[in-house]
């Protein structure tokens, strides 16, 4: 018991440090909706200034220096907000997150350049007496730390709850415009938030420095490993829960130190590593899974992502660029540049995996390099076991896919920042549990997996003796995989990914399996990551795993954004930024600057690109097509081929019957015993004031919220146990009050997304190789004909592709009928309006596709 108490106290001390860093991050998130990865780095710089420049060099006392740390951190944070984030105010959230990641790189490099990277001890300055209660030792310093953290938490809680400015900051995160109308300046509120968040970082770093010493990376690790986890447990909103989260993580770690040996014995294992990270991660994981939802709630606002490319490939441009790359590699580059080439290209392949996962499917993972390491480990173990290298690589890639599916589990229940933080934890866990355990790696003494020198198809290609050959292997992989990723974008599978990226609810309403799409995206992305990992790992005779860490994942995500997250071509522009890649060579060989300058200049270039063009370099290149067209490197746009005549046939009639439908949200009965039928040829209106439950009825009928009671039949088939996707596939589809479109793609692609249902399961694979061969269904042809000429800027115009997309698929074989529902809250004194009869319907189409608008909640049937 005394041991338990002892480690509880130790854990509370460490947890208080985590919580203090986390509170700054939570405050920034509440004020700006942005996860600030630079919280630790800002604190680091401030603490160095305080304890090295002021205490060591100028003889300041530690408490004035602590004050200086707070001021410096606040100033750095404010400067960043004013100079970068204010300019990026309208940018996609991920772009702004990448700006904070670039700030991490910049500040760490500046610290390393100015102070060195070696850890510097800092003398304790808080009272450091040691109390002993029996066998339990308590350090006074830790008590102060816990006390200060509790005080800061209480102050933040009270400030945001009871002061006008605090409440305005909360409101600003929800709706900037609304706050503006109340007379608050969003810029001013953001400045206050960032300044205060920075000050807390300076305070946390100043207090923690005597415990940890100072190094360029320590506090960034603290924030990334534990701080963000604590913030997540507080929902990035609640200061008290964040404090609790920090304490849970701290106590979990210390208990792992105490009971690690017992757990090892219990599981009868010689060696288990990473136990200290496990409790915290499990808590985060289960909280996220329990709190999460399979489909986002109606209130969920999807995070905008950078612009998508079309996936079009210029064969001539591709051939020319590939030939040029090979010519430069073998004709011009020396060994150092060949080495930079394979480093860059492996990163480029990892960027391709991020393009698929984040760019196309909208799922953020900060564990991509951990997956890459798993691929390398599997392939390496096979090589070590004597399996031919080529086969081992293939097995490594294929067997990483199931691991990718495990990584996808959180994505099935959560999204956005929560997903990013959980994936971060997952990445750490893999690093510590798998990569730090030599039992898994193949040799207990090597600390890695010995594979010897690599030969492929009888050719010596090992990176050390044949850097050009290894670079060529990388280049070939990059070109092939780049084509596959571009193909994917143009395919029906790609449209499914984009639909999920843009709006999960709308995608589900079209019969797209959101779970299936997410799992697919993680699978493809895992396979690509495994290729990158194997190319990185197999350049040496012993595969080591220190490179497969979350910080590499974060950096590569940053590279992907500046290259162009929505473009396969973005990987080309992201690749040179890899540390040790072409960018480093240019800075070191051509400009003549040494260590750290590549990071500093790289970070400044990231800022420049983000400020100048937030959709990435590839977007600039693609949209500057005229030059390429003149050079004949890309084809001039051709007019679309004429659409075929629609083969319209009558729809087999079906009746939607809703009986005694009841929906409850906790104790609130939102819908109580609603009964109605929609017979063939009818349009049924639901009329009522705001809050009457109209949309909830549609949500329940289409499977977006569970019904507490009642039955829903399509003809005689009960739908109650089917999810939204299954109902849509049977022909029951909906549009949305807010006219949800997939805004990232064209009108035609919106409609295609709804008509791609006929795709076979095989298309998940074949689309990577042979996309764009999927004819529109006859109803989709009709829908495109009506919609493609219209703009999507006005609500009425936007309704056309929305409804067209909902009704453009061929019915499922077993259920030929199709129902489309749309719901709009009418004005207060509303009347029901019958939707104009559908031209497609009147022409004998099988669905009620493509009516011009819905002006009230209607349920219609053809």
């Amino acid at each position: 018991m005394q041991s338990f108490l002892q480690f509880l106290i130790i854990g509370l001390g460490a947890g208080a440090t985590y919580a203090l860093f986390a509170q700054g991050a939570v405050l920034v998130y509440r004020g700006s909706g942005l996860v600030n990865f630079a919280q630790g780095a800002i604190g680091t710089l401030a603490a160095y200034v305080a304890f090295v420049d002021l205490v060591d060099e100028r003889g300041w006392g530690p408490f004035p220096a602590l004050g200086a740390s707070v001021v410096v951190a606040a100033a750095v944070s404010l400067l960043f907000q004013a100079s970068v984030l204010r300019v990026l105010r309208g940018a996609a959230p991920i772009v702004r997150v990448i700006a904070t990641i670039a700030l991490v790189g910049l500040l760490q490099a500046v610290v390393a350049k100015r102070y060195g990277v070696a850890n510097r001890p800092v003398d304790t300055y808080l009272p450091d007496d040691v109390f002993r209660w029996g066998d339990v030792t308590v350090q006074e310093e830790r008590l102060y730390l816990v006390g200060i953290t509790v005080a800061v938490t209480a102050a933040l809680w009270a400030w945001t709850r009871y002061t006008r400015i605090g409440m305005a900051i909360n409101a600003s995160a929800q709706n900037e415009r609304a706050v503006q109308t109340l007379g608050w300046s969003p810029d001013r509120l953001a400045a206050i938030t960032w300044g205060l968040g920075g000050a807390i970082a300076g305070l946390a770093a100043g207090l923690a420095a005597p415990l940890t010493g100072l190094s360029a990376t320590t506090f960034t690790v603290v924030v990334t490993v534990a701080g963000l986890g604590a913030a997540l447990l507080g929902g990035f909103h609640s200061f008290p829960l964040t404090l609790l989260g920090g304490l849970i993580i701290g106590v979990g770690e210390s208990m792992a130190t105490l009971y690690g040996g017992d757990v090892q014995d219990l599981l009868n294992q010689d060696l288990i590593t990473g136990l200290n990270r496990l409790p915290a991660f499990l808590v985060i994981f289960f909280v996220v899974v329990i709190r999460g939802h399979g489909l986002p709630l109606r209130s969920h606002v999807a995070e905008r992502l950078p612009r998508l490319g079309t996936g079009a490939i210029s064969v001539r441009g591709l051939l020319l660029a590939s030939a040029l790359a090979f010519a430069l590699l073998f004709g011009v580059m020396d060994d150092d540049w060949a080495q930079a080439t394979y480093i860059s290209i492996a990163t480029g392949i990892m960027v391709l995996s991020i393009v698929v996962l984040t760019g196309y499917a909208g799922q953020i993972s900060l564990a991509q390099w951990a997956l890459a390491g798993i691929g390398a480990l599997i392939a390496g173990r096979f090589v070590r076991a004597g399996v031919p290298t080529e086969l081992a690589i293939l097995l490594g890639v294929v067997l990483t896919i199931p691991v990718g599916l495990v990584f996808a589990i959180p994505a099935l229940r959560t999204r956005g920042v929560n997903l990013a933080v959980v994936s971060l934890g997952l990445g750490f866990l893999v690093s510590e549990v798998v990569f730090a355990n030599p039992s898994y790696l193949g040799n207990r003494i090597d600390g890695g997996t010995r594979i010897g020198r690599i030969e492929l198809f009888g050719l010596e290609v090992d990176a050390f003796n044949h850097p050009h050959a290894w670079a060529a292997v990388n280049l070939i992989c990059f070109v092939v995989l780049g084509i596959a990723v571009a193909n994917l974008r143009r395919s029906r599978t790609g449209r499914r990914l984009v639909a999920v990226r843009t709006n999960e609810r709308a995608a589900a309403s079209l019969g797209i399996s959101v779970f299936g799409v997410k799992l697919y995206a993680f699978s493809v992305s895992a396979a690509l990551a495994a290729v990158a990992g194997i190319l990185v790992a197999f350049r040496g005779q012993v595969v080591t795993y220190t490179e497969f860490n979350v910080f590499a994942s974060i950096n590569t995500l940053g590279n992907a954004v500046i290259g162009g997250l929505g473009y396969a071509l973005g990987a080309v522009f992201a690749a040179p930024n890899a540390i040790g890649g072409w960018g480093t060579r240019v800075i070191e060989d051509w400009i003549g600057l040494g260590a750290q300058w590549d990071v500093i200049i790289g970070a400044l270039v990231v800022f420049l690109i983000l400020i100048a063009h937030q959709n990435g370099v590839a977007d600039v290149v693609v949209h500057g097509r005229r030059l390429w067209e003149r050079l004949r490197l890309v084809p001039r746009p051709r007019p679309h081929p004429p659409l075929p005549e629609a083969d319209t046939r009558p729809v087999a009639p079906a009746t939607l019957s809703v009986s005694g439908l009841t929906v409850r949200f906790g104790a609130v009965v939102a819908v109580d015993g609603v009964t109605f039928d929609v017979r063939p040829g009818e349009v049924v209106g639901l009329i009522g004031p705001n809050g009457a439950g109209k949309t909830t009825v549609i949500d329940a009928v289409t499977g977006f919220v569970p019904a507490a009671a009642g039955t829903i039949l399509l003809d005689d088939r009960p739908l109650d146990r089917l999810n939204a996707t299954q109902r849509a596939r049977l022909g029951l589809r909906r549009s949305f009050q807010s006219l949800e479109l997939f805004d990232d793609v064209s009108v035609e692609e919106n409609i295609r997304a709804g008509s791609d249902l006929r795709a076979s399961r095989r298309s998940w694979i074949t689309d990577l190789v042979w996309p764009g061969r999927h004819d529109l269904t006859p109803t989709a042809v009709a829908a495109v004909r009506r919609s493609s000429s219209r703009t999507t800027s006005t609500p009425s115009a936007r309704s056309c592709p929305t409804v067209a997309g909902a009704s453009s698929a061929s019915p499922a074989p077993s259920r030929p009928a199709r129902r489309s529902c749309c719901s709009t809250n009418p004005p207060r004194a509303s009347t029901s309006a019958r939707a104009p009869s559908s031209p497609a319907s009147s022409a004998g189409s099988r669905t009620t596709a493509a009516w011009p608008c819905c002006s009230s909640s209607t349920t219609s049937a053809s």
Partner: protein
């Protein structure tokens, strides 16, 4: 708007570049040498202490090109002082005749603890015409580095051997270096009567297996390891390792850690006033860093194959003077740790062999042949009574373990030293082969 953005961006760039450019690179820590701390070079009778002074080297002769690659700075391990020490030693030996009259030219390379940079370093040393390396210490991609050095025919003298090097005939270490410390550190505690030992180690895969290996090695002596804890990156509370070990009922802990982490754990022990004995490496602790631990230093035992810089050994007068003359803080006697000392010792041993072999043309093949045939190179008491035979293979797993001599050192706060109050006091000495004999790693018994 565009102009505003540009202006703002320009301001950020200017600030960032200014902040970085104002930096001191963290390693350019040249300070004033502290005269009086050590003997002036002019006062030293080199011949009497086993060295020589033939006057300045001849710059017209083809130089002896010596290389060193290691990680200069990282959050865990910063070994730039090894490179600085080699340059300082070369300068000093050049002033006394260099390598049989030829000057010594030093090429150093920072591998950044990165495989790609390590590979680039090998290429760099190869292209620079380096004929031998002294005190190189690989921290990444060592399998490739060792193989490449072997293929390039560049012999490695006095290197810090890692697992890749144990069977490498191209490696000629002076001692078992870091691995020796790791495996023998419990022995230092055993010599103090401690048999229940806690292990606080680096959080690396290669170190994860250490507990099992040490358990096997010390089982016969009745030593147990009831506590083991890795120190992960981002650790905020080092006292947990001390308290955890206390809770497990151990009598002492072995710190198998990089310098910075080891110092933090020792400071936590100092703050808690623990009764535990703490065993650490002289590669991590200098006279000044031990002094800062106050009374707690008396609870520490230190281990290394040769004495600390402040020990009174005749040849150390020259060593201290040569390194201190560089003016670099970390090479002053008070701050000098064992790992940079090995640069001086390794260069001395190499030059001694070159002198004895009358070598005037320096090729990789020639140096390699010399190393293969050299016997009992006089080590002037640095390794106890032991001299050094570079090509000697040890029985068991650790073939290239160099000399056998290892010694425990304790701290006496009242002893005087060239660096001020307090000094290290020699304790038990033991043989690497003897400790390992009968274990899975050493010669088969009976021992």
């Amino acid at each position: 708007m565009a102009r505003t953005r540009l202006r703002v961006f320009a301001a950020v760039c200017a600030l960032a570049l200014l902040a970085a450019a104002c930096g001191d690179d963290g390693g350019d820590d040249t300070g004033d040498a502290t005269p009086g701390d050590t003997a002036e070079a002019a006062d030293i009778d080199y011949e009497a202490i086993g060295l020589w002074d033939d006057g300045p080297c001849d710059e017209s002769l083809e130089p002896l090109r010596v290389g060193l690659m290691t990680v200069f700075e990282s959050p865990v391990l910063s070994l730039k002082d090894q490179a600085d020490a080699l340059e300082a030693a070369a300068e000093a030996f050049n002033a006394r005749g260099g390598a049989n009259g030829a000057c010594i030219e030093v090429h150093t390379c920072d591998d950044g603890a990165n495989v790609d940079q390590a590979v680039a370093c090998v290429r760099e040393l190869d292209e620079a015409g380096v004929v031998v390396t002294v005190n190189d210490q690989g921290t990444a991609g060592q399998a490739d580095v060792s193989a490449a050095m072997q293929e390039a025919g560049i012999p490695r003298v006095a290197g810090n051997v890692v697992s890749e090097d144990w069977g490498d005939p191209n490696a000629y270490p002076l001692d078992a270096s870091g691995t020796g410390v790791t495996f023998l550190m419990p022995q230092a505690l055993v010599e103090q009567g401690v048999t229940e030992i806690g292990l606080v180690r680096v959080d690396l895969a290669a170190a994860s297996a250490l507990l099992g290996l040490l358990g096997d090695l010390y089982a016969d002596e009745g030593v147990t390891f009831p506590f083991e804890a890795p120190v992960p990156a981002g650790t905020t509370d080092y006292s947990q390792f001390i308290l955890g070990a206390q809770d497990a009922g151990v009598g002492g802990i072995a710190l198998v850690l990089g310098e910075q982490e080891a110092v933090q754990v020792a400071r936590a022990g100092q703050q808690l006033g623990t009764d535990l004995l703490v065993s650490a490496s002289l590669g991590s602790f200098s006279h000044s860093s031990v002094t800062e631990l106050g009374d707690f230093a008396e609870q520490m035992v230190f281990l290394w194959s040769f004495p600390p810089a402040t020990h009174e050994l005749p040849v150390y007068e020259a060593l201290r003077a040569d390194l201190a003359a560089s003016g670099i803080d970390s090479l002053q006697p008070a701050n000098l740790k064992a790992s940079p000392m090995r640069s001086w010792i390794g260069l001395y041993a190499l030059l001694r062999m070159i002198r004895d072999a009358n070598m005037t043309e320096f090729t990789r093949e020639g140096i390699t042949e010399m190393l293969r045939t050299a016997q009992d190179v006089p080590m002037l008491g640095i390794f106890g009574d032991e001299d050094w035979t570079p090509n000697q293979d040890h029985p068991g797993l650790f073939k290239r373990a160099g000399t056998n001599h290892w010694q425990v050192w304790t701290w006496d706060p009242d002893a005087d030293s060239v660096a001020g109050e307090g000094n290290f006091v020699p304790g038990a000495a033991f043989s690497f082969d003897d400790v390992l004999c009968g274990s899975p790693f050493g010669a088969p018994g009976p021992c």
